[in-house]
């Protein structure tokens, strides 16, 4: 088999692409956890919802409208969820939160089935991104490159917001010590609300972006949930650094595992997760020591 | 009985314990004084193994225990109470004591017998409850007893393992003067062969119970001697008035 340099370049890009898709999903989940100590298992269901919203809109209004509408739509659902459930569950223990969001998974799964049916949907790749791009000596799908760039851009933007802006400073303070943040006069409730909605919007965006690449099925939220959780647990909860590190580790292990050890492909990532937790029981880069 | 040699610990650039060397004889009662942030609790954490030192060693009954885990040191006779109550909140006072008493006897890990029903454990529980004045509260849950009683239980739980050395982290922290006096009696009730290391803020209590006094400041031993010597010491006053700037 001719596995020259361009082959490995191609696989590296594939790994990056998968990493960025997971990053879009995991960053919302991990920051919500870091700030609110809230494990939102329904995050995957919100991703599926984003994909369905995008698939419904893309047919008539086109991909670019869909990719804007999906995050907004999911953020609106997030507003409803926050007001109806999350806010009331904030003081409850983690078990209760896990279960409420587990119930949400069940409910949202069947709601998507009722609204959109069991048949798989999809979105066509937008014309502008349907070809391939010559890059580093390989011909790579433009849409995949778009995902990589989008993920990197969002990572950059979030890093900037966290490091340089006032709201970023508030989030950092809140993750560090929420009691102290409240003492500093930060409106914690409003901060939580904003972060939760942004997290939901990112999940919706991830769903919309994934739709042309994958297929839109009722089970997609459940399928992506476990990889997302693995990402944030390997990376360590609550930190941007953890989310990006976990995503990259997952993407590269999955991609190169598939190429180099296909028999182990499905077990490899779980073994890695177990290994990380044995060595560092709180992940690689947790927000709090 | 308990000895440290050049114990050192720092968090990043902050040196919280600087080459601390202490030596406690069997039955000695030593009080550690020092302002907030002097590294007293850190010293305790190093002694019991909840923190690993950057340098130096801890010796218990002549044996180097620096490399041993928290439970192993505890099983060799080192017990501690915490400044912040660290109790089994959902359980009763009796259960709290019994859980502790069951550890050294081996009943705590046994599947074929109930530790709570063992006569020897019940005896220990009764004895300790007597020592720390918990008899009236035995069947109350931790959530049902007052803060002061919880402080007594905090010591009682540590005592119930029948330690050789007991480390008490501010046993009177947060209790009123009345309770504080009660602790004096409590300490007097303890067997004389038990080695005690006590962190204490209440000067009167400290001088009343101490055989020896150690003063820590900025993680360093600045005084080590008899209470009489410490009492008049300008050093001690300076530290507590906060004018000690050296080091």
């Amino acid at each position: 088999m001719t596995q020259d340099l361009s082959f490995w370049t191609l696989q590296t890009l594939n790994a990056l692409q998968l990493s960025m898709l997971l990053f879009l999903l995991s960053i919302g989940l991990t920051v919500i956890f870091g700030l609110m100590h809230f494990v939102n298992l329904a995050h995957g269901a919100l991703y599926a919802l984003g994909a369905y919203i995008a698939a419904s809109i893309a047919g008539t209004a086109g991909f670019w409208v869909a990719i804007l509408a999906a995050p907004i739509g999911v953020a609106l659902v997030g507003v409803v969820l926050y007001g109806g459930l999350i806010q009331r569950m904030r003081k409850s223990g983690p078990m209760a939160q896990v279960l409420v969001t587990f119930g949400l998974i069940f409910a949202l799964l069947d709601l998507t089935r009722i609204l959109w049916g069991d048949l798989a949907l999809a979105i066509a790749t937008p014309a502008a991104l349907s070809g391939q791009v010559e890059l580093l000596g390989v011909s790579y799908p433009a849409y995949r490159l778009f995902i990589i760039l989008l993920g990197a851009a969002i990572f950059g933007a979030l890093a900037l917001v966290l490091a340089r802006t006032q709201i970023g400073a508030m989030i950092r303070a809140g993750v560090d010590n929420d009691a102290m943040a409240a003492c500093l006069g930060i409106n914690v409730e409003r901060l939580f609300f904003v972060v939760f909605c942004v997290g939901c919007a990112l999940a919706g965006l991830a769903g919309a972006v994934a739709a042309p690449l994958l297929s839109v099925t009722p089970g997609m939220g459940l399928q992506i949930l476990i990889p997302t959780l693995i990402v944030i647990v390997i990376g360590g909860l609550g930190s941007l650094k953890g989310a990006i590190a976990g995503s990259l580790i997952y993407g590269f292990v999955q991609t190169f595992g598939a190429v180099l050890a296909p028999q182990l492909a499905s077990v490899l990532i779980y073994a890695l997760l177990a290994a990380v937790l044995v060595i560092k029981p709180v992940g690689l880069f947790p927000a709090k020591g | 009985m308990l000895e440290t040699r050049s114990l050192t610990k720092s968090f990043g650039a902050v040196h919280v314990t600087r080459s601390v060397s202490l030596k406690l004889e069997r039955g000695e009662r030593r009080v550690i004084l020092g302002p907030n942030g002097a590294g007293k609790t850190t010293l305790f954490n190093l002694l019991v193994g909840e923190l690993t030192p950057d340098g130096g060693s801890v010796h218990l009954a002549g044996e180097d225990v620096t490399a041993l885990s928290v439970p192993r040191r505890a099983r060799r006779g080192l017990s501690r109470s915490y400044q912040k109550n660290t109790l089994f909140d959902g359980l009763t006072v009796e259960e709290n004591l019994a859980l502790a008493a069951a550890v050294p006897t081996g009943h705590a890990t046994r599947l074929w017998s109930d530790s709570l029903r063992q006569p020897e454990i019940r005896d220990t529980v009764a004895e300790v409850a007597e020592q720390v004045n918990l008899m009236p509260h035995l069947h109350a849950k931790v959530s049902e007893i007052s803060y002061g009683v919880r402080r007594q239980l905090e010591v009682g739980v540590a005592l119930a393992t029948r330690p050789l050395v007991l480390l008490m982290d501010e046993p009177t922290s947060g209790v009123g003067p009345e309770m504080s006096k009660g602790f004096h009696d409590l300490l007097n009730n303890l067997p004389r062969d038990l080695t005690l290391l006590i962190i204490e803020h209440d000067m009167d209590l400290a001088f009343a119970v101490a055989d020896t006094i150690t003063v820590l400041n900025y993680g360093e031993v600045v005084f080590d001697g008899l209470p009489e010597e410490a009492r008049g010491s300008k050093l001690l006053k300076d530290i507590y008035l906060g004018s000690w700037e050296d080091a």
Binding site: A15, L18, A120, A122, T125, L214, G219, Q254 | -
Partner: protein, 393 residues
């Protein structure tokens, strides 16, 4: 609504469940997944089955009482529901079964209890091979049956080397093995093969890149359902069609999913026992009737349900009314249906049917299929099946 009319039918009939079965009634179990990942297939088969009963069953002098059971996805649930059908509802025959796992699970039960089972999808080779049963009649397909002729056909087209991909589960392996056997026998070479973790693979990119790097003449894959859509879309995005044309088992570009795949599926050549564009009068009327009822073009799953209904009706028309007589009659059905001439192989109880090689192309209303070749019907090899005769008179 398809579900509505069949559900009311089912509800009305099950409510009328008699204490003792009368001679002019037969109880038929419908054993399909209505929830879980295969729900779409279950619904499609049920729609075809309902249409088949409507089309062929009106003149019967016997009332068909349906007992609808959801197998979900798990063999355990499937078996539990089958037991219920047999032991409590006392059905005379069962129709359905989508996943091979469920078929494997219920096999001993229906065989032991002597209840005829018309398999309307599950393609596990062993079910009509080493584990065959006189009580199990398959009107759908077997995994190797669909792919074997394709192996030969591709070799005939001058394709010398092939790379294969399929999900890592039993059906995936059988599909690929069926193809590989015939292709290598005809002189072709498999130069690489990967099995991707089933339903856990988000990104097929690494595998596609691997196949591209192998330098094979063609890529042969089996994927179904959501994975088929993902795979075809991702394959198209790599623009590999020129160097590495995509062939596959026809489920890859099933009518059920081809609209979701859209232009990505264009030019993909696959083989299957049914495509909606087969040119014969039975198919024309079937497609028209299905369109009328459902508002869309039927898939192979629908035709499997449709033909299962027809096989049942034909067996009932012989006068068969109970488990024994139905079981015997079902093995002898043969008819010209939308798929062409269909018969049951007495050696294995598997369907014998032609296989169609087709290319997915742009049509006036979305994607459609052009049949490139009709490969002659052939019976599966016996594969260790020892068919005992039914205890009939």
């Amino acid at each position: 609504m398809k579900r509505a009319n069949l559900a009311t039918l089912a509800a009305a009939t099950t409510l009328a469940l008699p204490a003792a079965a009368l001679a002019d009634e037969v109880d038929i179990g419908v054993l399909l997944p209505f929830s879980g990942v295969y729900a779409a297939l279950g619904n499609e088969i049920e729609a075809g089955f309902a249409l088949g009963l409507e089309t062929y069953g009106n003149d019967l002098d016997v009332e068909i009482i349906l007992h609808r059971e959801d197998t979900e996805v798990t063999p355990a649930t499937g078996l539990a529901r089958t037991r219920k059908l047999i032991l409590q509802d006392d059905v005379d025959a069962i129709v359905g079964v989508v996943s091979s796992g469920v078929l494997g699970a219920v096999r001993d039960m229906v065989d032991g209890a002597g209840v005829p089972l018309i398999v309307a999808n599950a393609g596990n080779d062993a079910a009509t091979g080493a584990e065959c049963s006189p009580w199990i009649t398959r009107v759908s397909f077997s995994n190797s049956q669909v792919n074997r002729p394709m192996g030969r056909w591709m070799a005939e087209q001058g394709i010398e080397t092939v790379y294969t991909l399929a999900p890592d589960y039993a059906a995936g392996r059988q599909m690929i093995e069926g193809f590989t056997g015939a292709f290598t026998e005809a002189g072709g070479t498999i130069i690489g093969s990967d099995y991707t973790p089933f339903q856990q693979t988000q990104d097929f990119g690494p595998y596609i890149a691997q196949a591209q790097a192998s330098g094979a003449d063609a890529l042969f894959v089996f994927y179904a359902g959501g994975e088929a859509i993902s795979f075809v879309n991702q394959y198209a995005s790599f623009g590999a069609a020129e160097d590495l044309p995509l062939y596959g088992s026809g489920f890859l570009t099933s009518q059920l999913y081809v609209d979701a795949q859209g232009a990505s599926a264009e030019g993909v050549v696959t083989a299957l026992h049914y495509v909606p564009t087969i040119d014969n009068p039975e198919n024309a009327s079937f497609v028209a009737a299905f369109r009328e009822a459902m508002g869309r073009v039927p898939s192979e799953y629908a035709v499997q349900g449709y033909d299962a209904a027809r096989a049942l009706v034909e067996a009932l028309e012989t006068g068969a009314r109970d488990r024994e007589t139905l079981g015997a009659a079902l093995r002898q059905v043969s008819f010209d249906g939308p798929r062409g001439a269909l018969s049951i192989d007495p050696a294995t109880n598997n369907v014998v049917q032609p296989i169609y090689v087709y290319e997915t192309v742009q049509g006036a209303n979305g994607m459609t299929q052009t049949v490139l070749a009709q490969l002659p019907a052939e019976a599966d090899p016996v594969n260790g099946c020892v068919m005992p005769s039914l205890p009939t008179n």
